[in-house]
């Protein structure tokens, strides 16, 4: 069962809210990252089942990071998060191998829905 999660978001606020929701839902947040570099570094040590990846980060292009994450950890399921809501970005992310798309602002229900869509 996919239960361990890494949260990648440059906003501490967003990471804490996301963590709060995930923990409430019984997931284990094994790592948080505020940047692409941190995300790649934590990836090697924490091997999360699921990665919540914010598409806008200060140090990387989200789609490039998505590609690196998928190459480095092909077994992890990546959920792309962003409030961009642009179809083209969503399409590109899904084409690159993201499993799902979570549009900000998220509610606990929305997160549950997306996580359940991964087939738990």
């Amino acid at each position: 069962m996919s239960r361990t999660v890494m949260i990648v978001d440059d906003s501490l606020f967003m990471r804490k809210i996301m963590r709060g929701i995930l923990v409430e839902k019984g997931y284990i947040v094994v790592a948080e990252a505020a940047s692409g570099i941190e995300a790649m570094r934590n990836l090697h040590t924490s091997h999360p089942d699921i990665i919540m990846l914010d598409i806008i980060l200060p140090d990387s292009n989200g789609l490039d990071l998505l590609e690196s994450v998928i190459t480095a950890c092909p077994d992890s399921k990546v959920i792309v998060c962003s409030s961009l809501g642009e179809d083209s970005v969503v399409r590109k992310a899904l084409n690159l191998g993201a499993c799902a798309y979570l549009q900000k602002p998220f509610t606990p229900e929305k997160i549950s829905e997306v996580l359940e869509s991964l087939g738990g």
């Binding site: 440059d10 606020f13 809210i17 998220f106 606990p108």
Partner: protein, 543 residues
């Protein structure tokens, strides 16, 4: 879901976005075509919007959303950054700042933002550019305000909240000193009341005073606390750069950076940490080739972990490198004449690792520009000891090394064990004292000069504090019990025989200035309840 726990985080993060936002706008006025700055502005507006939407702060969402969409027009080259737009953005930022303050206060008059929203939505970049482009604008038109009266120009104003203020760190330092002196004077007052056999009425106010002083001390120290991240943010980059230069592949982990320490301690401990990290990269960790030959993964691991343990923090720097060979360290120390062969033979591995902290000791074959120059581990140990901390070193050949710095979370006011030796009263910082004993003569082993409290080996030598202080030995009292305090100095156990153990007390340690600071075995001074000056022992120097 209850969002209230996240409100403070929202407020502080929103503030940092807003301050970065106005700085960027100002920067853009000088160089309006800086695409990176425009991207960054966009990102701040975008983050504000996302955060506010999550919290359900609709007014903030509305403004941030319009800022974001106008900025995306600038980003796509539709129009250039211009003063009227900068004003509008600054005004929006100010409005957001006020909204955030209302959110922080948890109440307050809701502001009408419809006028701003309209102007944001309908911003017309051509409205300004035309008069500028026109060769001879009519004089009266140039003076006419371009905006409707609702647009107040951006003005410098005080922080929109008085809930937090900035104060100079020296002020905090002075508060600590005054608090320390107050505590000292409380003990003096206590003593005076006791000696004067004063009326029982004195006890209740003294009791109150004690409680208040404790609260004051806690509050003053709390105000000086900063998270470890304050200094730690630069370490990953430092390690990365050092690793690059050494052509080593290193994974660096930083844990516990949210743990808070006294500002003064953070300041003093940063250089020692940098030194140990440099040493680890430079000497401790091997190159990828070397590691593969040793059957280890090519990439090495270096970690910096901070743990809180009641009144102490532990800063642990661990690597999975080549480790240290205690025999080689001992040999080096003997070769350099720092210790005798006999001393070397008696040393435990723990003590042998401590040799690297001896002044003038360096095992590195070559001195590189990365580390190993001048300031060595001796400076690290001195810094840790000066903070009333303890440095412990662990190592395994081929497995790596581990440096543990155990430090008090606050400065200056420490718990101490007071002992008497001849005419002297000396304070031993409680952080190094493991226990106190009263030994029968039959429980002391070994020959004079090489005495020990352990029958089997020399792992717990017993030193005479009188001898360490150059006092004449007291005449042996037959079967009298010998008071002994057992100290742990970075993993090495050393016992001291003293005349009397007087008890525990909270003391305010004052640093000594030259020439007293050159006294061996003395780490500071304090003033006792009856107003005498008393020295604080530097146990590692006495051992």
């Amino acid at each position: 879901m209850d969002m209230s726990p996240y409100r403070d985080l929202f407020v502080s993060e929103a503030r940092s976005h807003l301050s970065a936002f106005s700085e960027l706008i100002v920067r853009l006025e000088d160089s309006p075509d800086d695409p990176a700055a425009i991207d960054e502005l966009f990102r701040h507006a975008h983050s504000m919007k996302g955060m506010a939407a999550t919290m359900g702060f609709e007014q903030v969402v509305g403004i941030a959303h319009l800022m974001e969409s106008q900025l995306s027009r600038v980003r796509s080259g539709e129009f250039r950054m211009q003063p009227a737009f900068a004003d509008l953005l600054l005004e929006s930022g100010d409005t957001l700042g006020r909204l955030v303050s209302v959110i922080e206060a948890g109440s307050g008059a809701a502001e009408d933002t419809t006028g701003l929203l309209e102007r944001l939505a309908s911003f017309d970049p051509s409205a300004e550019e035309e008069p500028v482009a026109s060769a001879t604008p009519p004089a009266e038109e140039a003076d006419t305000p371009r905006e409707t009266p609702a647009a107040t120009p951006h003005e410098f104003r005080l922080a929109d909240t008085f809930k937090s203020i900035r104060i100079k760190t020296e002020t905090l330092d002075r508060l600590v000193n005054i608090t320390g002196d107050l505590i000292t004077n409380r003990y003096r007052l206590d003593e005076a009341i006791r000696l004067a056999n004063a009326a029982a009425e004195c006890h209740e106010p003294l009791h109150q005073l004690t409680a208040l002083l404790r609260t004051l001390r806690d509050e003053v120290f709390k105000a000086r606390m900063l998270p470890f991240s304050f200094v730690a943010e630069r370490f990953p980059r430092l390690v990365r750069d050092l690793a690059r230069r050494q052509e080593k592949e290193i994974r660096f982990h930083l844990e516990g950076k949210e743990i808070e320490l006294d500002r003064g301690i953070l300041e003093e401990i940063t250089e020692p940490i940098v030194h140990i990290l440099r040493n680890a990269v430079d000497h401790g960790l091997e190159t990828a080739d070397e590691r593969i030959r040793a059957g280890k993964p090519a990439a090495s691991t270096l970690s910096l972990t901070v743990n809180r343990d009641k009144d102490h923090v532990e800063i642990i720097i661990a690597d999975d490198g080549r480790g240290m060979d205690p025999e080689r360290l001992k040999q080096k120390a003997v070769d350099k004449g720092l210790i005798t062969r006999e001393q070397a033979d008696r040393m435990t591995p723990q003590e042998a690792y401590q040799l690297i902290c001896t002044p003038g000791f360096s095992t590195a074959e070559t001195v590189t520009d990365i580390s190993g120059r001048g300031v060595g581990m001796d400076a690290v140990r001195t810094a840790v000891t000066a903070l009333a901390g303890v440095l412990t070193i662990h190592s395994q050949i081929g497995q790596g090394s581990r440096f543990v710095m155990r430090l008090p979370i606050t400065v200056s006011i420490i718990h101490a064990l007071m002992v008497r030796c001849g005419a002297f009263e000396i304070a031993f910082p409680l952080n190094v004292v493991v226990r106190t004993l009263e030994l029968k003569p039959s429980e002391i082993f070994g020959e004079p000069g090489q005495r020990s409290i352990s029958p089997e080996d020399h792992s717990a030598p017993l030193r005479s504090l009188r001898q360490s202080l150059n006092l004449p030995e007291s005449v042996g009292g037959g079967d009298a019990l010998q008071p002994v305090i057992v100290c742990d100095i970075g993993g090495a156990v050393v016992a001291f025989s003293v005349d009397h153990i007087l008890g525990q007390q909270e003391i305010f340690v004052r640093p000594l200035r030259s020439p007293l600071s050159h006294l061996r075995g003395v780490g500071g001074a304090t003033i006792t309840g009856d107003g005498r000056v008393l020295f604080v022992a530097d146990v590692s120097a006495l051992a």
